[in-house]
């Protein structure tokens, strides 16, 4: 299954090779042109059927949050730093896989018996954490682990509950999976599917891809925060699980093109597909770079709600995923009739 394969692959920002290889294999034979650019983005092109067609770019990032090896102690434990935004408190007592050979390791913590009661109230800082790979000492560890090795979470793909799944890296392999499926059809518009790198460390790949493609309109397909859990107030829950894909209005990096967002929302409503607006303005995504590329590109974002995003136990509804896929497809079929407002020159 595509989503399982994609989420189980390792692709911490800067090390997207494994994900890239899967995508290249999956889209092979479905495109009119595929390039991997110099920063590692995949740009897949599918020619449209219309005479004077729009250039549409879909974008999903291949990378995921993770860790990177920064040192090895004399006793053979691995020191690390986070890559992308991670709440360090989720790291304790978790399993990881290190480097190309996926060497298993665990992030340990001092036994509760050996802690002062006051310690139990404090969060542990990343600089005080370490990974145990079972090495005898530094030299022994260096046989398997090297400085700069990327570290991903070891978290399997599990269906559970009411048509939900738990896995790592749903942000944004869910977008990658949708883009792959979109390339299997042909539309009136010219389609460029950009699978981007390094979103989690500052939207690095998307800007480059948008510059190369220079589309008339762009749609970012994402996995986004879903905080409909105890501890969060009603107004704080960005999205609801099971209520369909979420369309962004604004976040820390961009305002979505209002007409484009409305267009998406109405498409879903008209076709009886569950849809919601993302109700908080936290975070950001590739739209932040795309919408200010070149002369500016009308950009919108549609996302599958994910609980516990940026953790090894991300949770998503398969219904939301299917609904998001449908809306993106309707968007591609309908975009030819969408009027893009050009700036008028005042004479």
């Amino acid at each position: 299954m595509l989503l399982k394969m994609l989420t189980q692959a390792m692709g911490v920002s800067g090390n997207e090779q494994e994900v890239r290889d899967i995508i290249l294999k999956e889209i092979h034979g479905h495109c009119d042109g595929i390039t991997v650019d110099r920063i590692g983005n995949i740009i897949a092109y599918k020619k449209g059927t219309a005479n004077k067609n729009k250039k549409v770019m879909l974008s999903a990032h291949m990378d995921e949050i993770g860790l990177i090896v920064t040192g090895i102690t004399d006793t053979g434990f691995i020191k690390f730093k986070p890559v992308g935004g991670i709440d360090s408190r989720i790291l304790l007592s978790k399993k990881v896989l290190i480097g190309e050979n996926k060497i298993p390791g665990v992030i340990g913590i001092k036994a509760i018996h050996l802690q002062d009661p006051s310690e139990r109230e404090k969060a542990i800082k990343v600089k005080n954490m370490y990974i145990d790979i079972g090495a005898k000492n530094k030299e022994d560890a260096e046989k398997n682990v090297h400085l700069g090795d990327y570290i991903g979470f070891d978290s399997d793909y599990i269906p559970f509950g009411d048509n939900l799944i738990k896995t790592k890296a749903l942000d944004d392999r869910v977008g990658c999976a949708i883009l792959i499926d979109m390339l299997k059809e042909r539309y009136a518009c010219d389609l460029y599917a950009a699978f981007t790198v390094q979103e989690e460390v500052g939207l690095r790949g998307a800007g480059v891809a948008a510059y190369t493609v220079n589309p008339d309109v762009a749609l970012v397909v994402e996995g986004t925060t879903c905080s409909d859990v105890p501890g969060a107030e009603e107004h704080e829950s960005a999205t609801y699980l099971g209520s369909g894909p979420a369309i962004s209005i604004m976040d820390r990096t961009s305002y979505s093109n209002k007409k484009l967002s409305q267009f998406l929302y109405e498409l879903a409503k008209k076709n009886n597909i569950k849809v919601q607006y993302k109700r908080t303005t936290f975070g950001g995504n590739d739209a932040g770079k795309i919408h200010v590329t070149g002369e500016g590109i009308p950009t919108a974002a549609i996302s599958v709600p994910c609980r516990y995003i940026h953790s090894p136990t991300s949770v998503m509804s398969l219904e939301d995923y299917e609904a998001c896929k449908k809306v993106v497809q309707l968007f591609l079929y309908g975009i030819e009739n969408f009027e893009i407002k050009k700036w008028e020159v005042i004479k």
């Binding site: 006793t75 434990f77 709440d87 408190r89 989720i90 304790l92 007592s93 978790k94 399993k95 060497i103 298993p104 390791g105 665990v106 992030i107 340990g108 913590i109 001092k110 036994a111 509760i112 018996h113 050996l114 802690q115 139990r120 109230e121 404090k122 969060a123 542990i124 005080n128 370490y130 145990d132 790979i133 079972g134 090495a135 005898k136 022994d140 398997n144 070891d154 599990i158 559970f160 509950g161 009411d162 939900l164 738990k166 925060t225 905080s227 409909d228 859990v229 105890p230 501890g231 969060a232 704080e236 936290f282 975070g283 609980r307 516990y308 940026h310 953790s311 090894p312 136990t313 949770v315």
Partner: protein, 349 residues
Amino acid sequence: MSTNDFLLTLSSLTAVSGYEHVSLTEIKKFFQPYCDLVYDDKMGNIIGVKKTKTKTPHKVMLAAHMDEIGLMVKSIDEKGFIKFTNIGGVDQRLLLAQEVIVHGKEELFGVISAKPPHLQSKEEANKAVKMEDLVIDVGMEAEKVKKLINIGDIVSFRSSLTTLMNKYICGKSMDNRVGVAVMIECLKELNRQDIDVELYAAATVQEEVGLRGATVISYDINPDIGIAIDVCHGDTPDVSKDETYVTSKGPVITLGPNIHPKLAKKIMNIAKEYNIPFQTDVDPGNTGTDAWAIQVTRAGIPTLLVSIPLRYMHTTVETVCYNDIANAGKLLAIFIRKLEGELGELLCY
């Protein structure tokens, strides 16, 4: 079954304190090939007996607790999220983003959830999330959750066994399935061999909540020698060397008031004679293990404690080195084989 396979199965079984019976049949199976008799008592302790041809033999009891720490359902909210409490000592800091199985009418997968980090203040982010602010998300509507799960249902951690370098293995409930593994390794060593003593290998219940199974089983068996097998703290970078023992450097033999001095001397001498690596632990009082309960049963029982160094005790990534398990099994087998004839002199002060 290869050593790793059998630990894999042992570790994967659910036996949260007080609810060990759900894995009773499975755990019994490990003893059957090497024992003349396997039975369980009223509390759920499992006992494997290896008989002897000696008339009126002395009795030796090995005891390793099979229970593990876990959680218990406290309430279910209107959205179907589950509030929980702990069974045994659980560090609240490691619960975030942890995977669990809720043992209701069905086994339900769930993840532990909390207020998302971006909604927390800076001060909150520097603090540990309190257990009372955490919930389990089983991804179902409240109505369904309430149908399948009752208050008081147990929750176990879900963490598969992982093999690291140098025969290190890591997973949940290694405290104290490794003790059970040591008993089985010992029974394997003694398989098809005649011994002079009658050997009882007991997998005990409810150690984590107060050494309860061991109390009852040592009263019932009333052995001449009781040997508790448990885990002790392994070496990690965040703990001083004085508080820990080095993993892979052999089982740990405890000295102190909980331990019969002559027995300790004997087992150490045997280890030296047979070149089995071991380490020594000095415990000035309560060892916090089944040995503490066994020692004062009935008229008093000479007691030993053999431990396996284990890193990250009471987490989902408890880590041990298999060599220590194998060495402990071997050492105990030789020790038992060497208990011949009258034990009076060995056991008297």
